[in-house]
């Protein structure tokens, strides 16, 4: 049993590659649960971070520091009355959020959390991701149509026009990153997500810094396009409250609306994962070549434990600072329990890091490696999530014609230029 576990954890290929359905199913379930939890955490983080940007506190009552607020929101949305407009097309109204949700979640089958930690490493991985995220547009279009109301339809058409426009620039930026994968010794590039990160590993440089500033500009183009792709600020005209045309999800209430939000956050995490994989080295820790002594390996493998220890420290601090009034007793206890949980997780991570510090084929070593890969990947994606929230808090929103102008007249030429320059430089520099 332990042998089987070791072999699975230490396998050099993904379950899809190995043809192992059980393990692939387990990975799928883990990803499904993980993304759902991540979306809830993202909801909480957005409300708290946005509030702190605006010098207020955000949710504080539902659970200590609002930690149970996403659960309360989900419960409330599920219990709300399900209103369907009388003239709406019921079938299409019902499947519209499902299309968006399926498109957002299917992308996760190819996201590489590690060199073998993915559900399946399709060799057209990046193509698959771009294609499936372009299917998300259909969800929005059908949602606007099914509402049978003038304003949601116009809002939906605007949203989808915006998404389609920025997909072009996104695709070209992605292509210039793919070009860089072909600059290795074998001479052939790859479209598979794991292959892209391995190409960065082999060439010893994150594609962000390759042929500086070409990789950097391509990354910036992608970073802007992905914000527009997910309809987030500053490109959120189609769903802003103070504009005349309300968003495509106006007529949706309760659980259906929450499905849209789930799809939106999942899409945000997915495109951030693409950005991290293509330019930021995926699951690789910082400075794998520069600081490659085993001592450095050990230090970097302590980071997951340190992160959770820091989070536990913040939680303990919150517990200590809570007012000692009897009204806050339950919250204090709750936050204390949460802090203890985080501390326990930190302890477990430290134990794994220490037990598996040699790179042998023991269970501990494989576990440590797996955890490290996943941790660095998630850390980079988390940085992007925070950036999404930061953008929303800081900037006003673009008018729709300005938005389209930027997508077609600024992003597209720049990404074309970067592509051509990358190709030229890639050929000239051996």
């Amino acid at each position: 049993m332990l042998n089987a576990l070791t072999s699975y954890l230490g396998s050099p290929v993904t379950p899809g590659q190995a043809g192992n359905q059980l393990w692939a199913l387990i990975y799928v379930l883990i990803i499904f649960a993980g993304v759902s939890i991540a979306v809830m955490a993202m909801n909480w983080l957005e409300r708290k971070a946005l509030a702190h940007f605006q010098i207020r506190l955000g949710p504080m009552r539902v659970g200590p520091h609002g930690l149970l607020q996403p659960i309360a929101d989900a419960l409330k949305l599920m219990l709300k009355e399900d209103i369907i407009p009388s003239e709406a097309d019921k079938t299409v109204f019902w499947i519209a959020p499902l299309i968006g949700l399926v498109a957002a979640f299917t992308v996760y089958t190819v996201i590489p959390f590690g060199p073998s930690q993915a559900v399946s490493d399709m060799n057209i991985g990046i193509l698959f991701m771009l294609g499936v995220s372009s299917l998300g547009v259909l969800g929005i279009v059908t949602a606007g149509w099914a509402s049978n109301s003038h304003y949601p339809l116009i809002g939906a058409l605007r949203s989808s026009a915006q998404m389609v426009s920025y997909e072009v620039a996104m695709g070209l930026a992605v292509v210039s990153a793919i070009l860089m994968t072909s600059l290795n010794t074998a001479g052939t590039g790859t479209l598979s997500m794991i292959g892209i990160v391995q190409a960065q590993q082999q060439q010893g440089v994150w594609f962000l810094f390759k042929f500086f500033p070409l990789g950097f500009v391509a990354f910036i183009i992608f970073a802007i396009a992905m914000v527009a792709e997910t309809n987030r600020a500053p490109f959120d005209l189609a769903e802003a409250e103070s504009e005349l045309t309300a968003g495509f999800h106006t007529e949706y209430s309760g659980l259906r609306w929450s499905l849209f939000m789930l799809a939106e956050y999942a899409a945000m995490i997915a495109v951030s994962a693409i950005a991290v994989t293509l330019w930021l080295g995926g699951w690789m820790r910082p400075f794998p070549n520069l600081l490659n002594a085993p001592a450095w390996e050990f230090v970097f493998s302590l980071f997951p434990g340190l992160t959770f220890a820091a989070l536990a420290g913040f939680a303990f601090l919150g517990t200590a600072r809570m007012p000692s009034h009897s009204f806050f007793r339950i919250q204090r206890i709750g936050l204390g329990v949460f802090a203890l949980l985080l501390a326990f997780l930190a302890l477990v991570l430290f134990v794994i890091a220490i037990a598996g510090r040699n790179t042998d084929t023991s269970l501990a070593a494989h576990t440590r490696e797996g955890i490290d890969y996943v941790y660095w990947f998630m850390l980079k994606v988390a940085i992007f999530m925070y950036l999404f929230i930061w953008y929303r808090a800081t900037w006003p929103r673009y008018r729709f014609d300005q938005l389209m102008k930027i997508g077609w007249k600024v992003m597209l030429p720049i990404s074309l230029g970067v592509l051509i320059l990358t190709a030229i430089v890639g050929v000239l520099i051996p």
């Binding site: 946005l50 940007f53 605006q54 010098i55 207020r56 600020a233 500053p234 959120d236 005209l237 802003a240 409250e241 103070s242 504009e243 005349l244 929303r392 808090a393 800081t394 900037w395 006003p396 929103r397 673009y398 008018r399 729709f400 014609d401 300005q402």
Partner: protein, 416 residues
């Protein structure tokens, strides 16, 4: 505007305050902003109704309940696709009959009513009214009262501009400046509360001067406030002034030329942003404003960005005025000799001040009794709202919201 001929010659004789008025148009004569026509014909505002819409034209209603219309304002837009062809504002949702009420109240009783008109800048309303009645009575408030009045009015100006900035930025999509400006506005409201007991509808002044002496620590608190708020204004500027998205949303949006602004009667920061250097505090000084040294900012293009810049500079200039005032409050009485029962002689008076939103004027006709015969308020927001139609023609729908915000209208004033 000044050569109004009336059939009743007696009326013109009474209007001493209108005799030597500087001509607003004279400020642009000879400059590049001067235009040959000062009439409104070219604006085509009274065009006959076109009952048949073109195939692309659409009439959309931005209802009285709307998150972006700063109160209960209804705007009917005629659109060609996304472009605005014309607008019509339907107002009156907040009409409370204030002017009619005034005919049945004594002058002192009416004082609290004026705060409720422009409820954002209540102190200025009170200043205008008290000064108008004082003019009618031919009394002058003592200098100490005037200094206190100036300090509170300029604090009020900053508070009003801060509220404008927060809501305007929110309409354009920047959510955060709202919270920052409201946090800083709290300090001003605390000073008001300590002075007269109220934050919003202050009723700070009385006819003839001020009722309340400055409280202990007033000067210190005001000076602390000056130190506190100057870096905050820098903070707002850092967030917005050079932000490319802000620039794209506000530059060349809602432009109005100086000639059109003068012809429509627009006053205040809107007029100044179009390039006309007209500020009543400098042109017809009242309440010892001539003692202070400050500048009038003017803009170049008359677009939303210039109005934003003008109001930001005005905030800083208000800080200058407050500093000079608080450093030199003279000693003396705070109330002039005003009879217990205010019964002004028959006559009429028009007095206007520079409220944060523009020229706020009071036209009072007295028939010798304790209650005014007619009290007419010239609200700046009402007159400025006329410019909405001119500013928004040819703009896109998303700009209408920005332009309504930049005009800084308060519906309490528009409807009274």
């Amino acid at each position: 505007m000044t050569d109004q001929t009336t059939k009743d010659g007696a009326l013109t004789k009474e209007r001493k305050d209108l005799q030597n008025l500087p001509d607003a148009a004279s400020y642009v004569k000879g400059t590049k902003l001067d235009s040959s026509h000062h009439d409104l014909a070219h604006l085509d505002l009274d065009a006959p109704e076109h009952p048949y819409l073109d195939s692309n034209e659409l009439i959309i209603n931005m209802g009285p309940q709307h998150p972006a219309t700063h109160g209960v304002l209804r705007v009917i837009l005629k659109l060609d696709g996304e472009k605005v062809l014309g607008t019509e504002c339907v107002i009156g949702y907040l009409h409370r009959g204030v002017e009619k009420i005034a005919e049945n109240r004594t002058y002192t009783m009416f004082n609290p009513y004026v705060d409720r008109m422009d409820y954002v800048a209540a102190v200025s309303n009170g200043l205008g009214y008290c000064q108008a009645v004082e003019k009618l009575l031919n009394v002058e408030a003592p200098p100490r009262a005037n200094y206190i009045r100036v300090i509170l009015t300029e604090l009020n100006r900053i508070a009003s501009h801060q509220l404008w900035l927060g809501t305007h930025a929110l309409d354009i999509g920047a959510m955060t400046p709202l919270f920052y400006t409201f946090r800083d506005r709290e300090e001003i409201l605390k000073i008001f509360e300590k002075y007269c007991g109220a934050r919003l509808t202050t009723h700070a002044f009385r006819i003839g001067g001020c009722l309340y002496e400055t409280y202990a620590g007033f000067e210190k608190e005001v000076k602390n406030f000056l130190k506190f708020v100057a870096p905050k204004i820098d903070e707002y500027e850092t967030l917005l002034t050079t932000n490319r998205i802000w620039l794209e949303r506000t530059k060349n949006v809602g432009t109005i030329s100086a000639a059109d602004a003068i012809a429509l009667g627009v006053t205040g920061p809107v007029l100044r942003a179009s390039g006309v250097k007209w500020d009543i505090r400098k042109a017809i000084p009242y309440a010892n404003y001539s003692d202070f040294d400050f500048e009038i900012p003017i803009g170049e293009n008359g677009d939303t960005y210039d109005r934003y810049l003008v109001r930001m500079v005005e905030m800083r200039q208000s800080l200058r005025i407050i500093e000079q005032a608080v450093n030199g409050i003279p000693e003396g009485p705070i109330m002039a000799k005003v009879p217990k029962v205010i019964k002004p002689a028959p006559g009429e008076i028009y007095h206007s001040i520079e409220a944060p939103k523009g020229e706020l004027g009071y036209f009072i006709v007295s028939d010798g009794s304790t209650q005014p015969y007619r009290l007419r308020v010239r609200p700046p927001s009402f007159v400025n709202l006329q410019a909405l139609d001119v500013m928004v023609r040819g703009m896109l729908v998303a700009d209408v919201v920005a332009v309504i915000g930049t005009l800084d209208i308060v519906l309490g004033e528009v409807d009274r």
